[in-house]
C-alpha cells in the first residue's frame, strides 16, 4: 500500500475553517430568523418554529465541528524532488500525483481571514489542472513556493 504523504497543513487552518463554518451558519441563522418572522407575520404553520432551529443546529454541528475536523485530518501533502503528492477529501479521498516536470507555475494567495492568522494557500498549476493546498503558515508557503519553482525549473520541458 502507498504511504500517506507526510506533511499536514497548519493547525490554524482548522480554526479558519471553523470560522468559515461560523460565518456560513450565521447566514443560515439570519435566513432562519427571517423565516420565523415571516411565519409570525403571515401566521404560517407552527412547525416552522421547530424545524428551523433544528436545521441550524445540525448545520452548525456539521460545518463548524465535524467537516473541518475530518477535512483537516485528511489533508496531507508532500513535495518530493520529482513529484508532489496531495491527499484530501472528506467522503471521497483523492490522492493526486503531480510530477515536477509538469508544474508550470506556483502561486500563493491570502485572503483577509487567512492574513489575520498569518496563513496562505498555495496553488500549483500544470498545463491542464490546478491544485490548491489550503492554509499553510505564511513562511512555510513562501518557502514551499520557491522550492517547487526551483525544482520545477530544473525539469524544464515543453508541453
Amino acid at each position: 500500500m502507498r504511504e500517506q504523504p507526510v506533511n499536514q497543513i497548519s493547525e490554524k487552518g482548522l480554526k479558519v475553517w471553523r470560522l468559515y463554518g461560523i460565518i456560513e451558519t450565521g447566514f443560515l441563522l439570519l435566513g432562519a430568523i427571517g423565516a420565523g418572522v415571516l411565519s409570525y407575520i403571515f401566521e404560517g404553520p407552527w412547525w416552522i418554529y421547530a424545524v428551523t432551529p433544528v436545521l441550524v443546529i445540525i448545520f452548525a454541528y456539521f460545518f463548524i465541528y465535524l467537516f473541518p475536523k475530518l477535512r483537516w485530518m485528511r489533508w496531507r501533502y508532500e513535495v518530493r524532488e520529482s513529484e508532489i503528492e496531495l491527499q484530501h477529501g472528506i467522503f471521497i479521498v483523492k490522492r493526486t500525483l503531480i510530477p515536477m516536470v509538469r508544474v508550470q507555475h506556483v502561486d500563493t494567495a491570502q485572503g483577509p481571514i487567512l492574513r489575520k492568522y498569518n496563513l496562505a494557500e498555495i496553488t500549483i498549476s500544470t498545463a491542464a489542472t490546478n491544485h490548491t493546498i489550503p492554509a499553510l503558515v505564511m513562511e512555510e508557503a513562501d518557502e514551499l513556493r520557491s522550492r517547487i519553482s526551483a525544482l520545477a525549473r530544473v525539469a524544464e520541458e515543453d508541453v
Binding site: R2, F91, I92, K94, A128, T129, A155
Partner: protein, 494 residues
C-alpha cells in the same frame, strides 16, 4: 529588411459587414416588427418609418465600419515576427514571433472561392485568453498565405536568406507548396453517407430550433394558434402524428445535409511534422496540427455505430481550440478493422493493443448503486402522485442496473511501456491512448465504500486546448490503481 505592408483582399469588407449583420439580425428584426407594426400612423412620416430609418442607418453604418476595418488592417513581417495593425477607433498592434506560431489554419468560404482567397487563422502555443485564435486574416490570396508560411518556415529553420527578387520567391513558394505530403486517410462517399445519417447533430439542430423559437416566442400569436390547433386536433391524431414525424424527418434531413457539406472530401495527410486535415464542400477548411502538440489519441465508438463495426478517432491538441477543449476529429468514421493501419502511420510509436486489465466483479455495485439515490425518491413520487400507472416507473431500475453492468463490462486498462490505455463507457465506448509525458496529473479517488471493497477510481488529466480532458477508470482493483500511480511516478520525464 523587407517591410512591405500587406493588406487584406477587399472582400474582407463585405465579409465583415455580413458578419456584423448576422450578429445584429435578430435585434433588428425585433425592432422593425415591434415598431413598424404597432404604430398606426402618427401623422409625421419620420415617426411612422422610424424603424426603417434606423434599419437603413444601421446597414450604412455597418458598411462604413466594415470598409474602415478593412482599410486599417495591415500585416507585415519584421524581426522574425508577424506583425498586425488593426482597429476601428483605437489602433491596435499585435506582434507574434514566428517561433510561437504553431499552425496556420485555412478556411475557404463561399465568398473566398471565386477570388481564390483563404481565411487564415494563426494558432499559437498557449494563447492565454479564451479567444479562438491569436490572429485572423479574414481574406488573403493563396499566394500571400504561402508567403506567410514560407516566412515562418524560413525563420524556424534558422535560415535568414534575404529575398528580394520575385523569381526566387516564387521558386521557394513552389518548394514549400510541394513538401513530402502523404495522404493517410480519406473518407469514402459511403462512409460520409453513414456518418451523415448517424450523426448526433440532430440534437444540436433541435436545440437550435428551440433557441430560434424562444427568440420569437413573444411575437407568435399563441392564442390564435391554440384555436387553430384545437381545430387541427379534431382532424384526428393521425394527421398530427404525421406532421410531427415529417418535422422529425425534415430536421434529420437538414442535419444529414449539414454533416455532408461539412465533412465532404475529408482527408488527413502527413506533412513533415504536421497532421493536415482538409474538409468541406461549400466552405473548405484546412487545419494543421503539429504532431508534437498531440496530447492523446482516442477511439470513440457510439453504440449504434459500434453495432455496424464503425468507430471514430479523435485527438486532443494542446494548442488552439476554445475553452471547451481542442478535440479534433481525426477519422470521423472508419471501419474498426481499418483504424490501425493509418493510425500507425501517423503515430508510429503508438502501441495499439487491446487493454487486458479488467475490473473486479465486486466493483459491479458501484456502477448502479449510487443511482438509487435519485431513483428511489423519483419512483416514490411517481407512485404517490399517479398511483396505478406511476408504478411503471419501477421499470427504470432494471434499465439502470443493466446499463451499469454494461459499463462495468466495458472498462479496461493496460500499460505498455510509457503508454497507458484506458477504456471506459459513458454511452459511447472510449479508448484513450495516453503517453506518460502527456499526462499532466493523476488522481486516485476512494470513498469509504470503495475502501471497504478495496477498489478505487483512477483519473488522468490531459491538456486539451485551454481546458482539461479527464480519462477515468472507475472502481478498479485498489492494488492495480496503486500500480498505475507508481508507474506514473517513475520517470515522468520519459
Amino acid at each position: 529588411m523587407s517591410e512591405t505592408r500587406y493588406k487584406l483582399h477587399w472582400i474582407t469588407a463585405i465579409i465583415e459587414v455580413l458578419k456584423t449583420a448576422k450578429e445584429a439580425i435578430l435585434p433588428i428584426i425585433v425592432l422593425v416588427f415591434a415598431n413598424g407594426l404597432n404604430d398606426v400612423g402618427s401623422g409625421k412620416w419620420y415617426l411612422d418609418y422610424l424603424s426603417f430609418i434606423i434599419f437603413g442607418v444601421l446597414i450604412i453604418a455597418f458598411f462604413i465600419t466594415g470598409i474602415i476595418k478593412w482599410k486599417r488592417f495591415e500585416y507585415w513581417f519584421e524581426d522574425n515576427e508577424l506583425r498586425i495593425e488593426y482597429g476601428l477607433f483605437v489602433k491596435k498592434k499585435r506582434y507574434i514571433p514566428f517561433d510561437r506560431i504553431q499552425s496556420l489554419d485555412y478556411t475557404e468560404g463561399i465568398l473566398h472561392r471565386p477570388f481564390k482567397l483563404v481565411k487564415v487563422k494563426v494558432e499559437t502555443a498557449g494563447s492565454s485568453s479564451s479567444k479562438k485564435s491569436e490572429a485572423e486574416l479574414t481574406a488573403i490570396t493563396k499566394e500571400a498565405a504561402s508567403r506567410i508560411e514560407m516566412e515562418i518556415a524560413q525563420a524556424k529553420s534558422g535560415k535568414k536568406a534575404i529575398l528580394q527578387e520575385n523569381e526566387v520567391l516564387t521558386e521557394i513558394i513552389q518548394a514549400v507548396e510541394e513538401p513530402l505530403r502523404k495522404s493517410v486517410f480519406t473518407m469514402s462517399s459511403k462512409g460520409l453517407l453513414i456518418l451523415a445519417t448517424t450523426s448526433g447533430g440532430i440534437g444540436i439542430i433541435f436545440s437550435g430550433v428551440g433557441i430560434f423559437l424562444s427568440q420569437f416566442a413573444e411575437m407568435i400569436p399563441f392564442e390564435w394558434m391554440y384555436e387553430e390547433i384545437s381545430g387541427f386536433i379534431k382532424f384526428g391524431l393521425l394527421i398530427v402524428a404525421v406532421v410531427v414525424f415529417l418535422g422529425f424527418v425534415l430536421v434529420w434531413g437538414i442535419s444529414v445535409a449539414m454533416t455532408f457539406l461539412a465533412y465532404y472530401g475529408f482527408n488527413v495527410s502527413l506533412e513533415k511534422e504536421d497532421i493536415v486535415i482538409t474538409r468541406g464542400l461549400l466552405e473548405k477548411k484546412r487545419m494543421t496540427v503539429p504532431l508534437n502538440r498531440v496530447q492523446s489519441v482516442r477511439i470513440i465508438e457510439n453504440p449504434i455505430r459500434q453495432l455496424f463495426g464503425y468507430a471514430a478517432v479523435a485527438i486532443d491538441s494542446a494548442g488552439g481550440g476554445g475553452a471547451e477543449g481542442a478535440k479534433i476529429n481525426l477519422f470521423p468514421l472508419v471501419k474498426k478493422a481499418d483504424i490501425y493501419g493509418p493510425l500507425k502511420e501517423i503515430f508510429p510509436e503508438l502501441i495499439l493493443e487491446e487493454p487486458t486489465g479488467k475490473l473486479p466483479a465486486r466493483g459491479k455495485r458501484f456502477f448502479y448503486r449510487i443511482d438509487f439515490l435519485w431513483m428511489i425518491p423519483a419512483i416514490g413520487a411517481m407512485t404517490y402522485f399517479f398511483f396505478p400507472y406511476g408504478l411503471l416507473s419501477l421499470l427504470i431500475v432494471p434499465v439502470i442496473v443493466l446499463f451499469g453492468l454494461w459499463q462495468h463490462r466495458s472498462v479496461a486498462y493496460g500499460i505498455s511501456g510509457n503508454q497507458l490505455t484506458m477504456r471506459f463507457r459513458n454511452i459511447s465506448l472510449q479508448t484513450a491512448f495516453l503517453m506518460k509525458n502527456r499526462i499532466q496529473s493523476m488522481e486516485m479517488k476512494q470513498s469509504y465504500f470503495h475502501k471497504r471493497k478495496n477498489v478505487a477510481t483512477i483519473a488522468t488529466n490531459i491538456k486539451s486546448g485551454l481546458s482539461t480532458f479527464s480519462a477515468q477508470v472507475p472502481h478498479m482493483e485498489e492494488l492495480e490503481a496503486d500500480q498505475l500511480l507508481s508507474w506514473y511516478e517513475k520517470n515522468a520525464r520519459i
